[in-house]
Each structure stands twice: as structure tokens, then as C-alpha cells.
């Protein structure tokens, strides 16, 4: 299963690279930046793993790549305009992703920051609010883009609102599922599998090195 997910992730990354190259060849530059940026973002987990030793769950990695891939391929092939509900699908995907990353964030913070303690129900509440907040920021970015460049990322009020409803739906599902997951899996175990403490040590080491090199000057 894990191998298959990894393989699928690679294939989708190749697809994004393909979109970027196809844009270059056909000089249709519209979706090239998005493809390049998405490709880079999809590589971030691997970079984190190499440099900090932080291990995200394979499923989460897959989810990250899938969300980016659907966005890029949808934009490139015009699915956003032609396939009804594509916009909402990608919204639900990306906001569930945001919610999952929020989950990883709060669980790690709860475990490793001494002065913070977050009970499970609050964790779920935080994830829901966090996802919605990111959704709002996203819509504002689309709005700003439309206002400044005259693009049409937001169609109308109905569209924006349904987008945001999908955002909140994803937040609710991940928030509640996350809290439920933690009641069955020891939080300890989950956080340990992320290897956050190893990453922390590495970050500390880097900071120390920096401080030392600054002091040396």
C-alpha cells in the first residue's frame, strides 16, 4: 500500500512537470508558474525529511501531491471551466489538506511545548477554525487577484460561498476525525512517528551554529 501511494505520488509529480514542459513547448505560459510552484511544494515533505528528519505520514504526502496535481491538471486542461464542481472538489481537497497539516501542527505543539496543553475537543475546534481561516485568506487572495489583475478567479457570490462551505466541511471532517483518531491511537505514538523531536534537535543545532558563526564575526 505504502509503495503504491509513493509510486502514485511520483506519477503525479511527473504529470505536473509534464504540464510545465508542455506549457513551455506550446508557449502557453498561463499555467506554468502554478505547475512549477506546485511541483516545488510537493517536494517540500521530501526536503523536510532530508534536512530535518521530519517524517510526514505517507498518506498525508499522497494527499498533498494529489491536491496539487488536481489543481494544476484542472487548470491546464480547463476543467475549472468545463467540469462542473471541479472548483469545489479542489477546494475540498486543499482545505482538508490544510486541516490535516493544522492537525499535525497542533498535536506536535501540544506534545512538545511545555506551556501549552490542548485537550482533544479543543484540538478539533482549533482545526475547524484554522481551516476556515485559511479558507478566508484564500478567498481574499483570489479577490485581490481579481481586483488587481482583472482575472476571474471568483465567479459570483454563490460560488465563493459554496467554496467556503466546502472548506468548512473539510475542516469539520478532519477536526472530528482527528480527535476521534487520537482517542484510539495514543497521541504519543502518532507524534513519535512524525519524528518531530529529531527535527527539533536539528533545528536547534542549526540555530546554535548560526549563533556561533555570528558570534565569531
Amino acid at each position: 500500500m505504502e509503495e503504491r501511494l509513493k509510486l502514485a505520488s511520483r506519477a503525479m509529480q511527473a504529470g505536473m512537470l509534464g504540464v510545465a514542459l508542455a506549457g513551455l513547448v506550446t508557449s502557453n505560459f498561463m499555467w506554468m508558474p502554478a505547475a512549477m510552484i506546485s511541483l516545488f511544494i510537493s517536494a517540500i515533505p521530501a526536503i523536510l525529511r532530508r534536512d530535518l528528519g521530519l517524517v510526514l505520514p505517507v498518506e498525508l504526502n499522497f494527499w498533498i501531491v494529489l491536491a496539487l496535481f488536481l489543481h494544476v491538471i484542472g487548470g491546464f486542461s480547463g476543467f475549472y471551466d468545463n467540469v462542473p464542481g471541479w472548483d469545489h472538489l479542489t477546494h475540498a481537497m486543499s482545505s482538508s489538506l490544510v486541516a490535516a497539516l493544522g492537525f499535525v501542527f497542533v498535536v506536535s505543539v501540544d506534545k512538545y511545548v511545555e506551556s501549552i496543553s490542548l485537550p482533544r475537543s479543543f484540538l478539533a475546534f482549533f482545526i475547524i477554525m484554522f481551516t476556515m481561516a485559511i479558507g478566508v485568506i484564500w478567498e481574499l487572495m483570489e479577490f485581490a487577484n481579481d481586483q488587481l489583475t482583472g482575472s476571474r478567479l471568483q465567479y459570483d457570490l454563490d460560488d465563493t460561498m459554496v467554496d467556503m462551505m466546502f472548506d468548512s466541511l473539510a475542516g469539520f471532517i478532519v477536526g472530528i476525525a482527528g480527535a476521534h483518531y487520537l482517542t484510539h491511537t495514543a497521541q504519543e505514538h502518532f507524534v513519535k512517528s512524525l519524528k518531530v523531536d529529531r527535527a527539533r534537535k536539528k533545528i536547534r543545532g542549526i540555530m546554535k551554529k548560526r549563533a556561533r558563526s555570528k558570534g565569531g564575526k
Partner: protein, 223 residues
């Protein structure tokens, strides 16, 4: 050290005059909040009923649990809570809306400040009454996240209300987006502001309100 002057008789006995003035200002503001909420309830203005009731609950909780009318919120916070409701219901605002282009933005900003205040109170009261513990950066992050998220849910709520009951809260996408823009600006400012606010507020005043708990439990460790 000389004791400060204290009132001797009646309900107010044992309080310093400045405490009494503080509390009175807060009571007045809370009455404005209360009667505005009653008004929107009578008008069946669903969204604002939710807002008013939430604000009143957060206001009343410390008073009830500590059984003291002096455990009120600082008056300036209560004013911030009451302001958007008052701006919303006052009929003057409607003509103001037509007269000044920025009046709508002002009401949006007032709403943002109130939402952030609710987020802040929620943070404080979660720390006071539940096992939630936060440090300062996380609390700031939470207040900002809460304001943004709540404004998002607010817009959705208004929209659903429009669709189902035929009200007209949200007129256009532009309208919704400017509201969200103002609430995010207000939320970010207030999140940072409240951290500063607690730092600057004199210890004596903090303890009067019972707000002392937040950020003060530095030596607290996870069991």
C-alpha cells in the same frame, strides 16, 4: 502604607472608587449590549442574535462563577462588544450608509474588533475554566485564527440565511469580500494588540477583573 479610600456602606462596600467607576462603566456598556440583543431577538435577526448571545455569555460567565458583580470585563472591551450590534441596529446607520462611503467599512471594522474581542475572551475563559493552557504566541495565533474563521462562518451563516429566509445580509461578492478583508485586518491587529494590552495593564486592574490567570501561570507544567 496608607490604605486607599474605600466605600463603606451597601453593595459597594470595600471597593475603591476607581474600581466602582470601572465596574459602572462596564455595566452600562453591558446593558447596551443586553438591550441591543433583546432588540435583535424581537426582530428575529438570527445572525446578530447568535453574536449577542455569545457575547453576553462570555460577559456573564466570570460574574456568575465568581459570584461578584465586580468581576466584570474591562469597560473598553465591553464597549467593543456592544459597538457592532449598536451600529447594526441603529436606524441612523442606514442613512449614514448612504451618506458616507466609509460608514460600511466602519461597521465592518467594529464587527472585526468585536469578533477579535470574543476570541480573546474565549481564550481567557478557556484557560480559566478548562484544562486548556496556552502561551502568549499561541494565544495570539488563536485569536487571529478565531477572528478569521468566525468571520468566514459568519458570512456563510448570512448567506444561508439569505437563501433560506430571504433576508438580505450579503448583497454581493464584493460586499462579502470587503467584510472579510476588514475582519482579517481587525483580527490581526487585535490579536497583537491584546498581547500588548495584558502586558501594559496594571497588575491591580488585571486582578480586579480576574484576568490575571492568562499568561501568568508561567511556572505551570504539564502533569
Amino acid at each position: 502604607m496608607g490604605e486607599e479610600e474605600r466605600v463603606r456602606a451597601g453593595l459597594l462596600s470595600g471597593r475603591r472608587p476607581d474600581q466602582i467607576l470601572e465596574a459602572q462603566l462596564s455595566w452600562i456598556a453591558s446593558l447596551v449590549l443586553f438591550f441591543s440583543t433583546v432588540y435583535v431577538v424581537l426582530k428575529v435577526d438570527v445572525m446578530w442574535v447568535v453574536f449577542g448571545v455569545a457575547a453576553i455569555c462570555l460577559y456573564v460567565l466570570p460574574i456568575v462563577t465568581m459570584r461578584s458583580l465586580f468581576r466584570v470585563l474591562p469597560w473598553e472591551m465591553t464597549v467593543l462588544l456592544a459597538a457592532p450590534l449598536l451600529l447594526h441596529i441603529s436606524s441612523g446607520a442606514r442613512s449614514m450608509n448612504d451618506r458616507f462611503a466609509w460608514w460600511n467599512d466602519l461597521t465592518s471594522l467594529a464587527f472585526a474588533l468585536a469578533l477579535a474581542t470574543i476570541g480573546f475572551l474565549l481564550t481567557v475563559e478557556l484557560v480559566m475554566y478548562t484544562s486548556v493552557r496556552m502561551n502568549k504566541p499561541f494565544a495570539v495565533l488563536f485569536v487571529i485564527m478565531f477572528t478569521l474563521g468566525a468571520s468566514g462562518f459568519w458570512e456563510i451563516g448570512e448567506y444561508i440565511n439569505d437563501e433560506v429566509f430571504g433576508s438580505s445580509y450579503v448583497k454581493s461578492n464584493y460586499d462579502a469580500m470587503t467584510t472579510l478583508l476588514w475582519t482579517s485586518i481587525g483580527g490581526i491587529l487585535m490579536g497583537l494588540f491584546y498581547a500588548l494590552y495584558l502586558k501594559v495593564m496594571p497588575k491591580k486592574r488585571l486582578s480586579t477583573f480576574g484576568l490575571i490567570h492568562l499568561y501568568e501561570v508561567q511556572k505551570w507544567r504539564k502533569g
